[in-house]
Symmetry: C2
Subunit: 460 residues, 2 copies
């Protein structure tokens, strides 16, 4: 195994201390989802190619599997790695429908793969966290509010920078354009979706190219500028004077989502997440039919969307039964890997151990192991020193690993513990002593600010 | 998405209630590994093919990745899915050695993939749980005892049938054969390894074919029959009269592992796991150099080994530095999927919710949501009824999901809760009431015995 090792671009791997942060994010998301009754599932990583490849842009990013030494007709398995969690979830619902209770609330936290060019926030293997609610034949609108609210609470509880939820509603946009009398509603949505890349005048020209009058184009742009932290967008849309039944429904739904996600703060007013109606969010064109959302991480808007989702009236269908759904996906790798790479966050230590038990000499290793077993018996993560070096060296080993306490077995059978941060040392009984709660497990900590330098020696 | 769905052979997928069991197994293993100071890592799922393919039997089971529409030279990525967690871990150690503290204790619980013919306990995608300790240049023997002991404790804590650890030591076998004067020690090990497939006489003939005398062959077979639950195997080996320095070392090490794993029961004498010295265990031929172990699940010996591992003096090397290691791997899918398929175990319910809040009518949904939020605020997993059906129907919804409690908001602003198993109903305050601990989260339960019928109507 003397081959030279080089990292694979687009396949980020975490060191143990950074993995502490990723696990806490996964655990925290899971806790919130489960508090709301969402069941966890995992799907296999492969799907038949005819289910993955839809003729779109993403097709050429699919990784296809073949067997290494298979030949001829057996060369290809006909399977590809999934590129999101929605396609496999839709298949799971169809395959297992007879064993599921609807509405089915599920969360799924798994990697997905895309053969795209890697860049900050975009990886070839990346972890996603999805929540969805799926009904059989029908799914009342109140589940839109429910699932969005769950993701708001889940991201609010994370040790990450504040997130911003930007909501819109496809019925609102479609109804407005229809009420305005636009000749091609779909084309108009596609054009307005370019507002984050093109100046407003250019977008107006494109709308006119697609058959809109100058007046209609101006109204479309006006609609797209509306952005409010509450339901006041309703009056601003009304003031544009467009009347349409679908528009009314969209306004009603969007107001309910905004109010449902903003209301009833669950942490005494200290919520980090912000919620807005942003009427230029369109979120692609294919399957969304109502609520749509894009999530951004404050200070990291350059990563573009940190997540998103919405309502789809046909997540899956087997020809007889249709399964409508509403859900939202959060990019764990997309947000976390850049934060870890910048050193914004890390784990407070690289090992789970809260205590290192020192070894006086190899003959008494069993004494140290017994003390470690006594600590573990009441839940204290503990390791025993690998070798009976001088105590100073054993303490430095603990220091390098971030282990806060070193336990010393004494010749008379008693024990002393040293807090290596303060140097304090005192008698303890390993059968009963527990470190303070904040020292018991690795925590997520701010590593260093992104603007500071690593090394004082670099100052001019 | 109207394509017909059929399961992919070798890619088992779990329903939500069975996933409860898998998650508890993962969480329980993780808790034990962390109590012993093992840090968690995950590696990317792909490795360069030249690192995976070693010219052995496994090569043709490797799944290779290519891009769907890539052509010509770009057709193949040169990557394959890993088929175990040892190859990627060895690469991780080499790649990140400068950032790791040695001895490095890690655990890793991830899927691996093999394109083999699926059968009970053998899948194309399967979850493995590995613990290893890796040193730089050297790794004292006491870590053999440590890592084996950790896996004994980890499997002992699982809600699975009892496991049996069968230990041997490669130095013991090699030293014995050398001391016996066998002409080809490696060939003899390979031959003895066939004892579980061939009768003893045939193995003796094969040994003689490889140059052993009848007397030597008989001694080899005698060694292989030794099996003891303690260190008494030492005297039995000594009585065979073979003298060799490597044999002495192997006897000493194996005795230390057996005693270290059997001693100091950590749960008041109620350990399920059994530990034995079994001198016919050889565990392949390639990289083990000392301790070897195979794990079996009682009553499921037909699945063959449920896990295994051992000591390897060169887990990895970059030409200058060698990294010796010792570790053991447990097959989560291999043991769990057959148990779930047989219905031996399942989750106590298919949803995390301990409480369903009933909805009196759609206009008062907000009242029910507020009660749910009050329950969640102190950690009670809660869902709100999807529709304002008659209460009897809402109770049956809870029943089908296995949710034990239904909360009813009353017209006067108070609340009542019903235990739907007993029918008892009483006043509660959702801001303070918590269900009993055993009802709070889904638990692993015995589903039904494998010999009982599902349905009383099937009796003759």
């Amino acid at each position: 195994m003397a081959t030279k090792i080089s990292p694979l671009s687009g396949f980020p791997e975490l060191l143990p201390a950074d993995r502490v942060v990723e696990r806490e994010v996964i655990d925290s998301l899971s806790r919130t989802f489960e508090l709301h009754g969402f069941a966890n599932i995992e799907t296999r990583v492969v799907e038949p190619l005819d289910r993955l490849a839809k003729g779109g842009e993403i097709d050429k990013e699919i990784y296809v599997l073949r067997r290494l030494q298979a030949e001829g007709a057996d060369d290809n398995t006909g399977w590809g790695l999934h590129y999101d969690l929605t396609v496999p979830f839709a298949r799971y619902v169809l395959e297992h429908a007879g064993h599921l209770e609807f509405p089915f609330r599920r969360f799924q936290i798994q990697p997905a793969w895309r053969g795209e060019r890697p860049q900050e926030g975009r990886y070839r293997q990346f972890l996603q966290a999805d929540v969805d609610i799926v009904g059989r034949d029908e799914l009342p609108f109140h589940h839109d509010v429910e699932v969005m609210r769950v993701m708001v609470e889940a991201l609010d509880a994370l040790p990450l920078p504040p997130m911003s939820f930007q909501f819109n509603n496809r019925k609102l946009i479609q109804g407005f354009y229809r009420g305005l009398g636009l000749p091609d509603v779909t084309a108009a949505i596609r054009t307005i979706d370019k507002l984050d890349k093109l100046p407003a005048e250019t977008v107006a020209e494109l709308l006119e190219d697609a058959g809109a009058s100058a007046e209609q184009a101006a109204r479309c742009l006006e609609l797209a500028t509306i952005r409010t932290p509450d339901a006041s967008f309703v009056d601003r849309v009304r003031s544009l004077g467009v009347e349409d039944e679908l528009l009314d429904q969209g306004l009603h739904e969007l107001a309910a989502v905004i109010e449902g996600c903003a209301a009833g703060d669950h942490r005494g007013g200290h919520r980090k997440v912000t919620v807005e109606a942003n009427l230029r969010i369109a979120r692609g064109l294919d399957y969304y039919t109502g609520t749509v959302v894009e999530i951004f991480m404050e200070g990291y808007e350059r990563l573009k969307s940190a997540g998103g989702g919405g309502r789809y009236d046909a997540l899956a269908s087997d020809g007889r039964t249709t399964y409508p759904g509403v859900g939202v996906s959060f990019g764990v790798s997309r947000t976390l890997v850049p934060l870890l790479a910048e050193g914004v966050l890390t784990g407070s230590r690289s090992v789970p151990s809260a205590v290192l038990v020192a070894v006086t000499d190899e003959d008494s290793r069993a004494v140290s192991s017994a003390a470690a077993a006594a600590l573990r018996a009441h839940g204290v993560p503990t390791e025993v020193a690998a070798s009976a070096q001088k105590f100073g060296k054993q303490i430095r080993t603990a220091e390098r690993r971030g282990i806060p306490y070193v336990l010393f077995p004494q010749a008379d059978g008693t024990h002393q513990v040293k807090d290596i941060r303060t140097g304090d040392q005192w008698d303890v009984d390993p059968a009963t002593w527990t470190p303070p709660a904040e020292d018991l497990h690795p925590r997520v900590v701010a590593a260093r600010t992104t603007t500071s330098t690593d090394d004082g020696d670099e100052s001019p």
